[in-house]
Each structure stands twice: as C-alpha cells, then as structure tokens.
Amino acid sequence: MTDLAERRDLDQVYQPAEDTRLLAETAAECVGDGDRVLDVGTGSGYVASVAEDSGADVVGADINPLACQEARENGVPVVQANLTDPFRNRSFDVVLFNPPYLPTPPADERNDWMEYALSGGEDGRAVIEPFIDGVGRVLASGGEVLLLVSTLTDPDAVVDFAADYGFDATEIASEKHAFERLLVLRLQRSTDG
C-alpha cells in the first residue's frame, strides 16, 4: 500500500480523540478480569485495546470495513456489523459505545465513512436510539452499557429514552471542552436491582 493510499484510509477511520480517551479511561475502571466486552463502533480499536489491557475478553464491531481492517491490525478481534445485530443473546457483561453524536442538518450530510463515524442526524441521537433499542438483548444478566454522550446530544433525552427501554442511566464520568461537555452514561437494567 502506498503512503497516500494509507493516508486516505486513515481519513476514513475515526482516530482516537477526547471522547475516545474518556470512554477508554472509564472502561478501564469498570471492566474486570474475564469480563466479556463488546466495543460497538470500535473504529481504530483504541477503546477495545484499553479494555483488553484491563483483562477483559473483547470483541470490536464496526459498520466501516476500513475501521474493521485497522482495528484488526491493532490486534482487536473484529466483526463487521451494524450495532449489536449479529451477536447472540446475553453474550456480554459490558457493552461500550462511543457513537456518532454530532447533530447534523440533512443538507450537510456527506456520504462517506467519516460521516458515519461523526453524524448523529438532526438531533444527534439517530444512532444512539437504535443502539439502546437493541443492546438489551446481548447483555448478560447484571450486564451494563457504557455510552459516551455529549451535551450537544441532550443527555437528558438519552436518559429518558433509555428509561423507556428499561434502563437506569447514571453519569459516571465527565469532561469539559470548549463547546461541549462529554460524559459517560452507565446503563443498567432497572430490574437487575
């Protein structure tokens, strides 16, 4: 592969940024030895690698084939997938997701992989909501979700949406940036007690 081609591929895969690092640090604190972990939208595989360093058994998933290749090169077992669709019921103790969350007017939507990695549709929650809808199925009993959200995405709306799907959401980490505050929500099934 030429340097130029490699550069082009990197431009099509979301590289670790502030949001990635906040989720990775939080995951490192929450994930334990032997936990089965799924990192949705793994991108370069950074969060998955950090979780693996904490002793977890980690699989990454991404819709973007170039991200899958890059995560695999970074040593992350990876599946090309839409969210949690191809994973078995009750397979994971922890599911991690740094979703595309930037609110994006339809007129500004580009049709490339970086857009997939960034754009959360008009309200920023176009990918978060189907994720919450599907994630309960793959969580083991007592399992939890760590979801990164931004104040741009209306975290209260995410918390309310999660409640409709039977999850209690708690903020467990947060970091202030110039135009937004990033936070990590922990979602646990209300019935798990």
């Binding site: 099509q12 089965r36 699989v59 819709i63 973007n64 084939p65 170039l66 899958c68 290749q69 695999r72 077992p77 990876v78 599946v79 090309q80 997938a81 839409n82 669709d85 191809p86 994973f87 078995r88 019921n89 397979s91 994971f92 049709n111 490339d112 992989w113 857009e115 997939y116």
Partner: protein, 64 residues
C-alpha cells in the same frame, strides 16, 4: 477471525446459529470463508480475516 468467535455471533436477521465453512486458515485464524445461517440460509463472507455480518441490504450501501 478466531474460531471462538462462533460462540458469540449469530445471523443478524433472525439471530439463529451460523455454520462455519473454512476456505483458508492461517495459524489459528480463519482468513477466508463463509458463515451460513442454519435457519434462513443467508451467507456471510469472511474476507481478510474479518467476518462481514452486515445484513445483505446494508452490504451494498458502502459509501467509500
């Protein structure tokens, strides 16, 4: 992909189990092959060591 992934993956459409057909194996990884749903018969490719478990209608959507 490592073969132990078979324990956690399923057909994205109907969530049934998949059969693994290996075309090429490299050390402990399956590099090329197919995953076939035991219920609906849908086939999912494994290429360059990566299983593509997107539903068929999303496989064609690639913008890049």
């Amino acid at each position: 992909m490592r073969e132990d992934l078979m324990d956690i993956i399923c057909c994205p459409l109907d969530k049934h189990e998949l059969d693994l057909e290996v075309i090429r194996r490299d050390d402990d990884e399956i590099m090329e092959g197919r995953l076939v749903c035991t219920e609906c018969g849908e086939e999912y490719p494994i290429e360059d060591g990566i299983p593509n478990l997107l539903p068929p209608d999303m496989r064609e959507e690639s913008p890049a």
